[in-house]
C-alpha cells in the first residue's frame, strides 16, 4: 500500500467516521433506548452512487426493527463498529485495527426512526467534517396500487408506486404482514413493504429474512450533538460537501494528491438517494 493510499484511508476513517474521534481514547456516543422491537426485517440494499458507472454497485445489509410504536432502519454494522472502537485504547491499537479490518469500515451512517402512530420520522445522519444532523419529516407518500403480484420470501406481494425525493419508487408489499412500514422512509401501505426500488434501478431494498430480534437488538438512536435542520437544508449541505471536498481535505492537512483522490471519490457520488 503506498503512502498516499494509506493516508487517504486514514483520512476517510477519521473524517467519515465520527466515532473515531471518540474511541476509547475518547468517549463513544451512547445509544438512547426507545423501544423493544417485535420483529426484525433484514434488507439487502444495492445502490449505485455513480450514475455513470453501472458496474459500481455497492451492497449493504440493513435492519428494520419494528416495535409497537416505533421502528428503526439502520446499518447493523454501525453498532459493530462502535463496539470495536470501544475496545481500542491507543493509537497503535487503532492503526493495527485499521490494517486488520481494511475494507470493513464502510457502512451507512443514517438512522431513521419512524413514529408509527404519527406516521412521521426522524432522520439522523452525519456529514463529513460538518457534523451530526437530524430532521423531522412527515412524508406525504401518495401510493398508486397496481395489479401485478410477485413472491418474496414466500409471501405474495402486490405492486404499488409513489414519487419521493425526485424519484419514482416501486414498492412490493404483503398484506399478510399487517404492518404499515418498510425500508428507508417508506410506509403507508396496507402491509409490510418487502421490496422498494427506484424506477432506474439505482437503489434497491429487498427483504432477505424476517426474524425475531435477539436480546440487545433494540430500537435506539445515538446521543450526539445534533444540528437540528430541515430535510431541504440537509440535502443542500450534502450537495455542498461534494462541491467543496477539496477545501475540506485541505483543512484536514492532506497533500495535493490525497486531496485529488478525495475529490475523485466524492465526484463519483453523484447519484444520491434523494435528488430533491
Amino acid at each position: 500500500m503506498n503512502h498516499n493510499k494509506l493516508k487517504f484511508i486514514l483520512f476517510i476513517l477519521f473524517v467519515s467516521s465520527s466515532y473515531m474521534g471518540f474511541s476509547q481514547i475518547f468517549p463513544i456516543p451512547k445509544d438512547i433506548f426507545i423501544e423493544k422491537p417485535q420483529l426484525k426485517i433484514i434488507y439487502q440494499y444495492h445502490y449505485q452512487l455513480d450514475s455513470t458507472n453501472p458496474d459500481q454497485i455497492s451492497k449493504r445489509t440493513l435492519w428494520l426493527l419494528i416495535g409497537d410504536n416505533y421502528s428503526s432502519f439502520e446499518d447493523p454494522k454501525k453498532k459493530w463498529y462502535k463496539d470495536e472502537m470501544r475496545k481500542i485504547n491507543s493509537q497503535q491499537q487503532l492503526q493495527d485495527w485499521i490494517f486488520k479490518n481494511a475494507g470493513m469500515v464502510y457502512f451507512e451512517h443514517f438512522t431513521i426512526i419512524k413514529n408509527r402512530k404519527l406516521k412521521s420520522l426522524t432522520y439522523y445522519n452525519y456529514i463529513l467534517m460538518s457534523g451530526h444532523y437530524k430532521y423531522e419529516e412527515t412524508p406525504h407518500l401518495i401510493w398508486k396500487l397496481e395489479s401485478d403480484t410477485a413472491n418474496i420470501l414466500g409471501y405474495t406481494v402486490q405492486h404499488a408506486w409513489t414519487y419521493y425525493g425526485g424519484r419514482i419508487w416501486h414498492a412490493w408489499f404483503t398484506p399478510a404482514i399487517p404492518i404499515s412500514d418498510g425500508p428507508y422512509k417508506f410506509m403507508g401501505l396496507p402491509g409490510l413493504i418487502l421490496k422498494a426500488e427506484d424506477s432506474k434501478h439505482y437503489y434497491t431494498f429487498e427483504a432477505i429474512a424476517i426474524e425475531q430480534p435477539a436480546e440487545g437488538e433494540d430500537i435506539t438512536y445515538e446521543e450526539n450533538p445534533y444540528i437540528e435542520t430541515t430535510r431541504e437544508k440537509f440535502l443542500e449541505a450534502n450537495r455542498n460537501l461534494r462541491l467543496d471536498i477539496i477545501n475540506k481535505a485541505q483543512e484536514a492537512g492532506l497533500n495535493a494528491e490525497a486531496q485529488q483522490t478525495a475529490a475523485q471519490s466524492r465526484r463519483l457520488r453523484n447519484n444520491p438517494i434523494e435528488l430533491k
Binding site: 417485535q38 420483529l39 433484514i42 439487502q44 453501472p54 458496474d55 408509527r116 402512530k117 401518495i142 398508486k144 396500487l145 395489479s147 401485478d148 403480484t149 410477485a150 413472491n151 418474496i152 420470501l153 414466500g154 405474495t156 402486490q158 409513489t162 414519487y163 425526485g166 419514482i168 398484506p175 399478510a176 404482514i177 399487517p178 404492518i179 404499515s180 403507508g188 401501505l189 396496507p190 402491509g191 432477505i208 429474512a209 424476517i210 426474524e211 425475531q212 430533491k276
Partner: protein, 882 residues
C-alpha cells in the same frame, strides 16, 4: 421541479378523475367497547381476485375513506391489524358508510416469521431464497438448487431430496414439464426465480390432501415477476472435426400460460438418450399391475462408464421439443408436448469377461465397434382440473421409437457381424376423476395401453449361438404386441382422524409374440440343413382385486394399513405346439406404514410389506428365442412356479434442522424373496449363454443400509456431506449344471466438501466403492476396489469479468489409474446486456488421456471394460441468458 409537479399532477388526476365514476366507501372501525381503533388496514378487493384495489389506514378517530372504481356489483372489504381479528365481508359496490366492530386478538408474529436467514418454514414447506445460495459463476436454477441443503442434482438433471427423487417440479404451482423438468431447470436463469419451495408430504391431488399422506417431495419455483419471458441460447464450435453444440431454449412463464420450446444439437458427447428417455409409465403408482414388457430380442448391450458422457461417447444428437400448458379461469389445464430426438452413437470398447464357475474359470477377450441409431417421436395431450372440489386428468400419448444397431464383435479372435433393427409404437390413455359424493369422495381410474413391435430383426454372421455349434448366420424375425388395461373405482370415507379407502377393480394384459429363429448351417458344400425354430405364443393375465386401506392420522403420527386381495389368473398358449397351461391363485398382499414426526426436526418412517410378482413371461414359455446375440432362451414349457413372494421391511430416520444447517438420514431395508424356480445358465466355450428355468425352491436375501450427513457451516463458508451405502445380496445360482451359494457385498463411501473462498470455490469429492463376491464354498472369490477423487476449482475474477473452472478426476479401479482434466474459461461481456452474454472456451480431456478402465462384478461374472476416451476437445462458445 417541473417533472415533480407533472408526476404529482398525474397521480392526483389518476386519483381524482375517476371520482366521477367512483364510489366512496367510508366508515369507522371500533372495538367491542366502542372505542375507535387507529392503524387498522382497511382494504378493498374485487370479488374474484386477491389484488387490493383501494385501501386506507384508520385515523386516531377510527375513520377511513376509500375511493374506488367499481368493475362489478360487489367488492370484498377486509381489515387487518396485529392486535385485532381480521374482518371480511362482501358488500355492494356503492357509496356507503360502514361501522366495523373488531374483536381483540393478538397475532403471534412468530407464526409469520422465520428464525433462520434465507429460509422460511411454513408447515411442510421450506422456502429458500435463491440469491443467497447463488454464486457468481451460476447461470441456471439447477446450479443453485444443488447448493440447497438436502437437495442433490444428478448429472442427468434428476433432483433428489434427502436421497429420494422429487415427484414434481412446479413453476408457480403449474407442472409444465412433468418428468422432463431437467430441460427447464438446465435452461431457466436463476435470477428469474425468487424462492425455491421444498414441499414435503406433498399430495399433488388437492381434493385428496386431507385423505392421504403421500410422503412425496415436490419443488415449486416462485418467480420474481408475474410474466417471465426468458431462456437460454448457446452456440459452441471447435476442434476436432467440427465439434459443435447448439442450444436454443425460449421459455415463457405466465399465470395462465407456460411454454418451453427447445432445439438442441451436439456432437461433443452429450447424447440425449440419458436425459430424455421415453416416459412409459405415467401415474404408475396408481395401477396394481404395470404393463409387462415384451421381452423382445435386444441388440448387444453398449456398456456405460461412470464418467461424464462427453469424455468417452462419440455421438451426433438432435433434440427438439415443445411443451405448452394453459390454464383457464375455471382452473382447467391443457398441456401439450411434442418431441423428437435422434441419437447416433459410435461406440468402441474392449473387454475381458471372466466367468468364475465353481469348477472352472472361462476368460474371453472381446472387442466391439458398433453404431447405434435411436429416434423417438412422441406426442402427448393432457386435460386436467385440480382443485379442492374436483379432480380430473385425461391423457393420451403416442410414441414411435425406431432403433438400429450395427457393428463388429470380436471374441477370442473370432469376428462376428451383428445387426439389429426395430420400430416399436405405443399408444396409451390414462383417465382419473375424483369427485365428492355427499361427505365422501369417489375416484374412477381407467388405463389402456397398446404396444406394437411388428418388424424386429436380429442378425449375426457367422452364427455361434445355437448349441454352441457354428453356423453361417443366425437370423431372427420377431413381432409382438401387448394390450393392457386396468380400471378401478375407489370410495373414500373419512370419519374424524381415520381415512378409509376401498378400491375395487381389475387389470388385464394380453401379450402375443411371433418369432422365427433361423440358423443357416455351416456346411460349405451346401448340403447342410437350415434350421428353423418358430414361436407363436399368447399369454393372458387377469387380476380382479379389492384393495382396502385404512389410515389413521394425527398431527404427528400416521398409520397406513393396506390389505389388497386379488384373484390372479394366467393362461399361456403355444399355437404352434398346441399346448397350453393355466394357473390361478388368490393372494393377500398386506402392508403397514408408520410415520412419526418427532420434535420438529426428526421424522421416523417404518414399513413392512408382502407382495407377489410374476416371473417374467419370456423366461417361462418361449420355445427358443434369441434374447440378444449372446443369449438363447431355451425354456421348458411346463414350470411349476408363476409367482414369487417378496417380503420387505424398511425403516428410515431423518433429521433436518434449518437453524443449524444439519441434515441427516439413515435408512435400513431388508427383502426376502421366495422362489419355486431357478434360472439355469449354461456358458459355452464360445462365450454364449443358454438360459432355462428349473423347478427348484430357493430364497434370496437383500439388505441395504444408506446414511447421509450434511452440514452447512456458513461462518467458515463450508458445506460438507458424507454418504454411505451398504448392500448385501445372498442367494443361489445355477450355472453350468451346478447349484451354488452366492454372496455379494457392496460398500460406497462418498464424502464431499464445498468451500467458498472470497475468490475461489472449491468442491472436493471422494468416492470409494468396494465390491466382494463369493461363489460356492469360498472357491471363487472376487474383489474390486474403486477410488475416485474429484476436485473442482472455480475462480471468480469479478473485476476482469472472468470465471475459470478446472475439474480434475483421479480414478483408480484395481490399480488402473487415469487422470482427467477439463477446463472452462468464461468471460462475461458486461458492457453488452449487463452480463447476460458470455463467451469462452471449454476444454475437455486437456492431457489427452487415452483410455478408461471400468470394472463390473456380478455373482460369477467379472467384466473389465476399456473405453477409448474422446481426444482433446476445445470448443469456443457464446451463451446468452435473457
Amino acid at each position: 421541479m417541473r417533472m415533480r409537479r407533472l408526476i404529482i399532477s398525474f397521480m392526483c388526476l389518476t386519483n381524482i378523475l375517476p371520482l366521477f365514476s367512483q364510489v366512496v366507501i367510508e366508515g369507522k372501525v371500533r372495538d367491542e367497547q366502542n372505542k375507535p381503533l387507529s392503524d387498522i388496514h382497511v382494504m378493498v378487493s374485487m370479488l374474484h381476485s386477491d389484488n387490493i384495489v383501494g385501501f386506507d389506514i384508520t385515523t386516531n378517530e377510527g375513520l377511513f375513506r376509500i375511493h374506488l372504481h367499481c368493475a362489478g356489483d360487489s367488492v370484498r372489504i377486509k381489515t387487518s391489524s396485529i392486535n385485532h381479528e381480521d374482518f371480511k365481508n362482501s358488500i355492494a359496490c356503492k357509496s356507503q358508510y360502514l361501522e366495523i366492530i373488531l374483536k381483540k386478538s393478538v397475532k403471534d408474529l412468530k407464526e409469520i416469521t422465520v428464525k433462520a436467514k434465507h429460509v422460511v418454514k411454513k408447515g411442510d414447506t421450506l422456502s429458500y431464497l435463491v440469491s443467497p445460495f447463488a454464486r457468481e459463476q451460476d447461470r441456471t436454477i439447477d446450479e443453485v438448487i444443488r447448493r440447497i441443503p438436502g437437495l442433490e442434482v444428478e448429472p442427468s438433471g434428476k433432483i433428489l431430496y434427502e436421497g429420494t427423487p422429487i415427484s414434481h417440479l412446479y413453476v408457480e404451482g403449474m407442472d409444465l414439464m412433468e418428468n422432463r423438468y431437467s430441460l427447464l431447470t438446465a435452461n431457466l436463469p436463476y435470477d428469474k426465480v425468487s424462492t425455491i419451495e421444498v414441499i414435503t408430504n406433498h399430495e399433488p391431488v388437492k381434493i385428496l390432501q386431507k385423505y392421504a399422506t403421500s410422503g412425496k417431495v415436490a419443488l415449486n419455483l416462485r418467480l420474481k415477476n408475474k410474466t417471465t419471458l426468458t431462456g437460454n441460447a448457446e452456440l459452441a464450435g471447435g476442434i476436432p472435426f467440427f465439434t459443435h453444440k447448439i442450444n436454443l431454449t425460449p421459455i415463457l412463464l405466465q399465470p395462465a400460460l407456460q411454454s418451453l420450446i427447445t432445439f438442441q444439437s451436439n456432437n461433443n458427447g452429450e447424447p440425449f438418450v440419458e436425459t430424455f428417455g421415453p416416459k412409459f409409465n405415467y401415474q404408475q403408482n396408481l395401477r396394481f399391475d404395470q404393463p409387462v414388457s415384451i421381452s423382445a430380442p435386444n441388440p448387444r448391450n453398449i456398456p456405460v462408464a461412470d464418467l461424464p458422457p462427453q469424455s468417452y461417447i462419440d455421438n451426433s444428437s438432435l433434440l427438439t421439443s415443445a411443451y405448452i400448458l394453459t390454464r383457464s379461469s375455471n382452473q382447467w389445464e391443457w398441456r401439450t408436448s411434442v418431441s423428437y430426438k435422434n441419437d447416433k452413437i459410435d461406440k468402441n470398447w474392449s473387454a475381458q469377461t471372466s466367468y468364475l464357475l465353481p469348477s472352472d474359470t472361462l476368460i474371453f477377450e472381446e472387442m466391439s465397434a458398433f453404431t447405434s441409431k435411436s429416434k423417438i417421436w412422441t406426442t402427448e395431450i393432457n386435460l386436467r382440473h385440480n382443485t379442492e372440489k374436483y379432480y380430473a386428468d385425461n391423457r393420451l400419448s403416442y410414441s414411435i421409437e425406431p432403433n438400429k444397431q450395427n457393428g463388429i464383435f470380436t471374441r477370442n479372435s473370432s469376428v462376428y457381424r451383428e445387426s439389429f433393427e426395430e420400430k416399436p409404437q405405443k399408444l396409451d390413455w390414462n383417465g382419473r376423476w375424483i369427485f365428492p359424493a355427499r361427505k365422501n369422495l369417489i375416484e374412477l381410474y381407467s388405463y389402456l395401453d397398446y404396444f406394437y413391435n411388428p418388424n424386429l430383426s436380429l442378425h449375426t454372421f457367422p452364427g455361434y449361438i445355437l448349441f454352441n455349434q457354428p453356423s453361417d448366420s443366425v437370423f431372427q424375425h420377431f413381432s409382438g404386441n401387448r394390450l393392457a388395461f386396468e380400471n378401478y373405482i375407489s370410495f373414500f370415507y373419512s370419519p374424524k382422524s381415520i381415512n378409509l379407502k376401498i378400491d375395487a377393480g381389475f387389470s388385464f394384459q394380453r401379450l402375443h409374440i411371433e418369432s422365427d429363429l433361423h440358423a443357416f448351417d455351416a456346411n460349405f458344400d451346401f448340403t447342410g440343413q437350415d434350421t428353423n425354430f418358430l414361436n407363436d405364443n399368447l399369454q393372458k393375465r387377469l387380476r380382479i382385486y379389492i384393495r382396502p386401506s385404512l389410515m389413521k392420522k394425527t398431527s404427528t403420527t400416521t398409520w397406513d394399513f393396506q390389505i389388497p386381495l386379488s384373484s390372479l389368473m394366467l393362461s399361456e398358449e403355444s399355437n404352434l405346439h398346441a399346448v397350453s397351461q393355466e394357473y390361478a391363485k388368490i393372494v393377500a398382499e398386506p402392508s403397514l406404514v408408520y410415520n412419526k414426526k418427532i420434535k420438529n426436526h426428526w421424522n421416523l418412517l417404518a414399513s413392512i410389506k408382502r407382495y407377489y410378482q410374476y416371473f417374467a413371461s419370456s423366461e417361462i414359455f418361449y420355445g427358443y428365442i434369441l434374447a440378444n446375440p449372446d443369449l438363447l432362451k431355451k425354456n421348458e414349457p411346463l414350470v411349476a412356479g408363476r409367482l414369487y413372494a417378496v417380503n420387505q421391511a424398511n425403516a428410515s430416520l431423518k433429521y433436518n434442522n434449518i437453524l443449524t444447517g444439519l441434515s441427516a438420514y439413515v435408512n435400513a431395508g431388508f427383502s426376502f424373496q421366495q422362489f419355486d424356480f431357478l434360472r439355469s445358465d449354461s456358458i459355452g466355450l464360445s462365450g454364449s449363454h443358454i438360459y432355462t428355468i428349473k423347478n427348484y425352491p430357493n430364497n434370496r436375501y437383500l439388505s441395504l443400509m444408506r446414511g447421509s450427513v450434511s452440514k452447512s457451516l456458513p461462518d467458515v463458508r463450508t458445506n460438507f456431506t458424507v454418504n454411505l451405502n451398504l448392500q448385501s445380496d445372498k442367494g443361489k445360482v445355477f450355472v453350468n449344471g451346478n447349484i451354488s451359494n452366492s454372496k455379494s457385498h457392496y460398500l460406497t463411501l462418498n464424502p464431499t466438501i464445498y468451500h467458498y473462498f472470497s475468490v475461489f470455490d472449491l468442491v472436493y469429492a471422494f468416492r470409494w466403492l468396494n465390491i466382494n463376491t463369493e461363489l460356492g464354498n469360498s472357491n471363487q472369490k472376487q474383489h474390486s476396489d474403486w477410488f475416485r477423487h474429484e476436485l473442482s476449482l472455480t475462480g471468480n475474477f469479478t473485476k476482469k469479468n472472468l470465471i475459470v473452472t478446472a475439474s480434475f478426476i483421479y480414478n483408480d479401479i484395481n490399480r488402473n489409474r487415469i487422470f482427467l482434466t477439463d477446463l472452462s474459461i468464461r468471460y462475461k461481456i458486461k458492457k453488452i446486456l449487463s452480463s447476460k452474454l458470455e463467451t469462452g472456451i471449454l476444454i475437455n480431456n486437456l492431457f489427452d488421456t487415452g483410455k478408461y478402465t471400468y470394472n463390473q462384478l456380478d455373482s460369477y461374472v467379472n467384466m473389465v471394460t476399456e473405453f477409448p476416451m474422446r481426444p482433446f476437445q476445445c470448443l469456443l462458445f457464446v451463451r446468452f441468458n435473457y
